[in-house]
């Protein structure tokens, strides 16, 4: 970065991403306009109808998305013109980024499993498993701490919600035992 005083690390990547985001928003805006077309045909109690706001928002999104794209495109060109970045950008700590992405992916999978299993298996079984999974994914190595947290947190939540507030948490396989 010696010969590139103005470029922030990741600036080029950020601007490229912004250009992609610009396209995404334009697409979402156009989608909103097209998808809400049939709503205009539905008779409504009011003069402007059900399609009015989605259309307005869709148009706004497309225009602003285009604005974002153009804005970041010019910033991108200026940056390339004034700064030599190619080599410095590539040297980033790739491996830690990669591990971070894996951790996120694993956490999301854990969440999805939790959602899928909470009703069939029951709250008091899935919650400690979920907490254990998240802590392990985060990199917690203290087994005792994981166990204490998994049991303790589940018990505390169960006490607050099911016993204190009388909300029904899914009993799952304990159905019939826990009433």
């Amino acid at each position: 970065m010696k010969d590139a005083p103005k470029a922030q690390p990741g600036a080029v990547k950020g601007l490229k991403a912004d250009m992609i985001w610009g396209v995404i928003w334009v697409a979402l805006g156009i989608f909103a306009i097209l998808y809400s077309m049939p709503y205009a045909e539905v008779p409504s109690f009011d003069p402007i109808g059900a399609a009015y706001l989605p259309r307005l928002l869709g148009s706004g999104m497309s225009i602003l998305g285009l604005g974002l794209f153009i804005d970041s495109y010019f910033k991108f060109r200026n940056l390339l013109r004034t700064v030599k970045v190619e080599s410095t950008e590539r040297d980033g700590p790739q491996s830690s980024n990669y591990q971070g992405a894996v951790r996120i992916l694993l956490s999301i999978i854990a969440c999805v499993c939790y959602i899928a299993l909470i009703e069939p298996l029951g709250y008091i079984l899935t919650t400690p498993a979920f907490i254990t999974a998240i802590m392990t994914i985060y990199g917690e190595s203290d087994k005792k701490r994981i166990a204490a947290m998994a049991v303790g947190m589940t018990a505390a939540l169960y006490a607050i919600f099911a016993l204190g507030l009388k909300v029904l948490l899914p009993p799952g396989i304990f159905e019939g035992i826990l009433q």
Partner: protein, 493 residues
């Protein structure tokens, strides 16, 4: 003053104090738990108040109502999840202060502001309940539209560096608000054949996803240990000087809360944003809002407790509940054979006056219990990162589940958590999305309702006096914002 003395005597009996205090504790806890709010807690307790004396029952419910408004701030500050929708604006600066280690200051400020807001609104209620009742009727769809539009201008100033990204975030939030069955045409919009979407998106899971889950995902990705123990969340409270400096702001925002509360269709989830917007506009530190400034915590918190007294005006003087919480109180009143409305002041004046006095006492209790809770709750979040983040996810998901006793809200929470993670990473503004979602429904319905009443003429927003004031304020707020942002640059160039 005879009535006051009488009411004071009733409210200060030990059993009445106990009912009130119990309500406040329940309210704070219910408010702090994401997914449970004051009105739900009130509904669950209502059948148990059957055998009680009516004043005791009302004091308990009023206690829950007040406590709940503050409780939401605890989770907003400490884990970045608004415990109730009215604490959504508190997250902005409260959570940033916590991240800087100033948790005690943020919580203390929220508590002090909430208490003052509560006192101010109770005082306003006492002086103005009957005259204000007439004002409540003056708020029609055109006025609600003005209010929503004024609130939405905040999107622009929430934008941060990149105005495109901020505005796009806001539009996205507004679009999310259109999901579900259209209130005027009955057609199901953007529900893609999913029955759960036909009902629209509930604010709480979306907020929990955008604010909390996205943040936890980011932390799991980075895995940077937080600061050393001694730099972690401190329990130090705001100093007297800090509080005194903010008193004028707190006073104004309490009144804003009160005013929004009087409008039966608005409520605390809107009041907090209007107050935040106001504080950001007038403060010298306006540009620092969102980075963790005390004003940013004080303004929304005093406004959402200011709502409590305001909301009692249409309830007591007209018998119109403006929110679920006041609807439950109306239920309690009716259950005991009391007809709210102008007659209540003539026939059973002790009831409204006991509520007036009870609100003061409830706020005092709230301050006391809140203060006791500051230290233990901060200690709680000083747990190791792995414990904290897994705990937040478990809490948020459990809270989401209880919203409908069904996994659907968890799915929504996770979905918006993932979306929020990507948006946040690329400089978009989750608070602007939340703001769009919160105000979107009232913005659209009041717009369409106004146009129906005016036979399609847009002039309704300028010919009705209060609506005209609000529309003008909206335009001025935009002019002011863009002027501040772009004019100095030009003059410098």
């Amino acid at each position: 003053m005879g009535l006051f003395a009488q009411a004071l005597k009733v409210v200060l009996q030990p059993s009445a104090l106990l009912a009130n205090a119990f309500g406040v504790v329940v309210g704070i806890i219910a408010g702090a738990i994401p997914g449970i709010n004051a009105s739900m807690a009130m509904a669950m307790i209502l059948p148990f108040t059957w055998g009680m004396d009516v004043i005791h029952a009302l004091l308990m419910l009023a206690g829950i109502y007040c406590g709940g408004q503050y409780g939401g701030a605890i989770t907003a500050v400490l884990i970045g999840v608004p415990g109730t929708t009215s604490a959504a604006a508190t997250v902005m600066d409260g959570y940033m202060m916590h991240k800087k280690g100033k948790s005690g200051k943020a919580l203390g400020m929220a508590l002090i502001a909430s208490t003052i807001g509560g006192f101010v609104s109770a005082a306003v209620l006492i002086v103005l309940a009957i005259p204000l009742a007439k004002v409540a009727l003056a708020f029609g769809p055109a006025e609600y539209f003005g209010l929503a539009a004024l609130g939405l201008t905040l999107i622009a100033s929430l934008s941060g560096e990149n105005i495109y990204k901020g505005l796009l975030s806001g539009l996205f939030g507004l679009l999310l608000a259109t999901v579900g069955i259209d209130p005027f045409a009955g057609v199901s919009r953007f529900s893609f054949g999913i029955p759960n979407l036909a009902e629209g998106l509930d604010m709480i899971p979306v907020m929990m996803g955008l604010y909390a889950v996205s943040e936890v995902l980011e932390e799991i990705e980075k895995r940077i240990p937080r600061q050393r123990i001694d730099e972690r969340a401190s329990t130090e409270l705001p100093t007297a000087k800090e509080v005194l400096n903010l008193l004028p702001l707190i006073a104004v925002c309490s009144l804003i809360g009160c005013w929004v509360g009087v409008m039966p269709g608005a409520g605390a989830s809107i009041a907090c944003w209007i107050a935040y917007n106001y504080a950001k506009t007038v403060s010298k530190n306006g540009h620092l809002f969102g980075t963790g400034v005390l004003e940013g915590v004080a303004a929304p918190e005093c406004a959402d407790n200011g709502v409590t007294g305001g909301a009692m005006v249409p309830l007591l003087a007209l018998g119109i509940p403006g929110s679920n919480s006041t609807a439950v109180m109306l239920g309690a009143l009716v259950l005991h054979g009391i007809n709210p409305g102008p007659l209540v002041f003539r026939d059973t004046p002790l009831i409204p006056y006991s509520i007036f006095v009870g609100l003061f006492v409830a706020n005092a209790f709230m301050f006391l219990f809140g203060l006791l809770l500051v230290k233990p709750s901060i200690k709680f979040v000083n747990a190791p990162e792995s414990v904290l983040y897994s705990g937040i996810l478990a809490l948020v998901f459990t809270g989401a589940y209880t919203l409908t006793n069904d996994p659907w809200p968890i799915i929504v929470t996770l979905f918006f958590g993932v979306i929020g993670y990507f948006l946040r990473k690329h400089g978009f503004q989750p608070p602007a999305i939340v703001l769009g979602l919160v105000l979107g429904t009232i913005f659209e319905t009041s717009l369409r309702r106004s146009l129906t009443l005016s036979n399609g003429s847009w002039s309704i927003f300028m010919t009705r006096p209060i609506a005209a004031v609000l529309s003008t304020a909206t335009i001025l707020s935009l002019v002011f914002f863009f002027g501040k942002r772009y004019l100095p640059k030009r003059s410098r160039a």
